[in-house]
Amino acid sequence: MVLELQKPRPIWQIMFSTHHTDIGLLYTITSIAFFFMGGALALGIRAELFLPGTQIIADSMTFNRMFTVHGTTLIFLFLLPFASGVGNYFVPIMIRYKDMAYPKLNAIAFWMIPPGGALIWLGMADFTWYATPPYSAIRAPGPAADMWIFALKILGVSSVLGAINFIVTILKCKHPDLPLSKIPLLAWSFLTSSMIVLVAIPSFAAALVMLLTDRLGVTGFFDPTKGGDPIAYQHLFWFTFHPEVYVLVIPAIGMMYEIIPRFSRKPIFSHSSGVFAFVVLSIVSFSSWAHHMYATGMSFTEKTVFMIGTLAAVPASGMHVFNFIATMWGGRIKFATPMMWSIGGIALFFSAGAGGVANAAMPFDFITHDSYWVVGHFHLFVMGTIAFGSIGFLYYMFPFITGRMYNETWGKVHFIMAFIGTVMVFFTQHVLGLYGMPRRVYDYMPLPEYIVMNQIASVGAMIIGASMVIWLINMIYSAGKGKEANMDDPWGLGGKYYFPHQAKNPHH
């Protein structure tokens, strides 16, 4: 199962395989391809916002389509498939089983992603990633909007199939000698996040069908002129997508749990508190969805309830941060590339969480809601925490997949540039939000503070873009021509710390 690229096989053997590492490879490569596509759109958006007025994008419709596809791509076609790729690689090995529980279902779940991605990219919908009615129901131009709805339907089914597969694999196929409490935290992260998917996705799946029939004109679920309620859509949407945030972040934290103890050359401070925090997060993730909707005219009581529900997620997240720091404390840390990405990710996770606490406080939310603060806040999660964890983990998997080492120096350059860029873009966007700049805007008022902040953010985005080009070259070059990895201990940590090589699943 290791050395995917050292033993060359015809591509169709990988594409039509149902073996978990082949599917994992397909997931990983597909998600990275979409990462670069979505990232290119982000660079276009930042270039347009470098100065007020029209820069490189001719009209606001194109701009609106770009940020819609940017968000949809990076959430549904990068973060989720990447996590599935990692899960496919490691979950069966960690629970000591020969494959996923349902290999064919696994292949089907993967092959639903390319058609979903094609529908999103060929359609280029314009109604933002949360497609709020009445705009999405009565004004958004088709067929782009309808293609987006079908794409999300397909991707949602793919997520559910993947989640079922992970849950069954972990609960039913684990080695009988391995108690559930002892399986590694990466596998625990997939168990808890898959549970969230199963509970959360159906409400959005229902909302999508209702939105589609609304668009076809046969129903009026969300159309107030036909007696519908647009707020109902927002509840259904956020009931899925606030927990979905945890579906994204929990596997990323699981990946950090894999990397940090090994590169600190110490066991995890507390395995059981990591499990406890995962389970608590998966439950409280359902108590906070309406904090996205304070400004829709909610009553004081509703707002209070959802503020408490939101704050309730903080101690469990804090336990993870504590666990990471306590693990590193007194360890002989090796600052190799995967470790640097993980530590950077934890620092940004903490910053994002602190911003989230401020945001959850009701009066403050009315300053930040739908402003650039929110853009900066959630990008610190999705880029700063989840993408950082994922990129670090890809560096960690690299010798495992290819049998070769990436270039360590360029890996560190990649991290440093991306970290500086991320801080420049997303911390600045918090400040922009406090100045009152709305999000999802093609143009902004030529105030000096807006211009300066946008320019810092745009320069930061270009630094991130350059660092990702370095990454791509490093990955492609090293996969073919990098020096051979010492598979027992690629980073010279002292053999036993490199987990993946200890178990192998032969192709069957």
């Binding site: 609106n64 400004a295 829709t296 406080a361 009701m362 009066p363 009315f366 009152g436």
Partner: protein, 140 residues
């Protein structure tokens, strides 16, 4: 568990919870005061549509894109929308409420400084969302 004590972690969690309780209690208290609309506030009807704002004063006069108010007087906004969702925002006075078709949301404030302030839309509403602005003019 590797045999060491978990006490530091629980102390840390307790500190975090104390901080959260403080943030939550303070937010609850401030929001309670902020939401208490004074009875004598004059009602302004605000309607958002693609892509401009209409204001109707208590005496029936209408303004489009501009809103003239008197300094030091409390005003209450009744906010709604005609076509799709918008969000009525005067950032300098922390007024932010979604304008939703078929609903009336309220917000209130007392303009305390004469001058011109930007009114903008904070909820994505289509093609010219970025340009859906108005001016609040506070007169002495």
């Amino acid at each position: 568990m590797s045999g060491h004590s978990n006490w530091p972690e629980w102390i840390y969690v307790a500190v975090v919870i104390c901080l959260l309780v403080y943030v939550g209690a303070e937010a609850w208290n401030v929001e309670r005061l902020v939401e208490h609309t004074p009875a004598e506030a004059e009602v302004i009807k605000v309607t958002g549509q693609q892509w401009f704002w209409t204001f109707e004063h208590a005496d029936g006069t209408k303004e489009i894109g501009e809103l003239h108010l008197k300094k030091g007087k409390p005003y209450k906004f009744d906010i709604t929308a005609k076509d799709v969702n918008h969000a009525f925002n005067i950032h300098d006075y922390v007024i932010l409420q979604d304008a939703i078709v078929g609903r009336i949301n309220t917000a209130w404030f007392v303009p305390d400084k004469a001058g011109e302030y930007t009114i903008q839309c904070r909820e994505y509403c289509g093609l010219l969302h970025y340009n859906m602005r108005g001016i609040l003019i506070v007169e002495e």
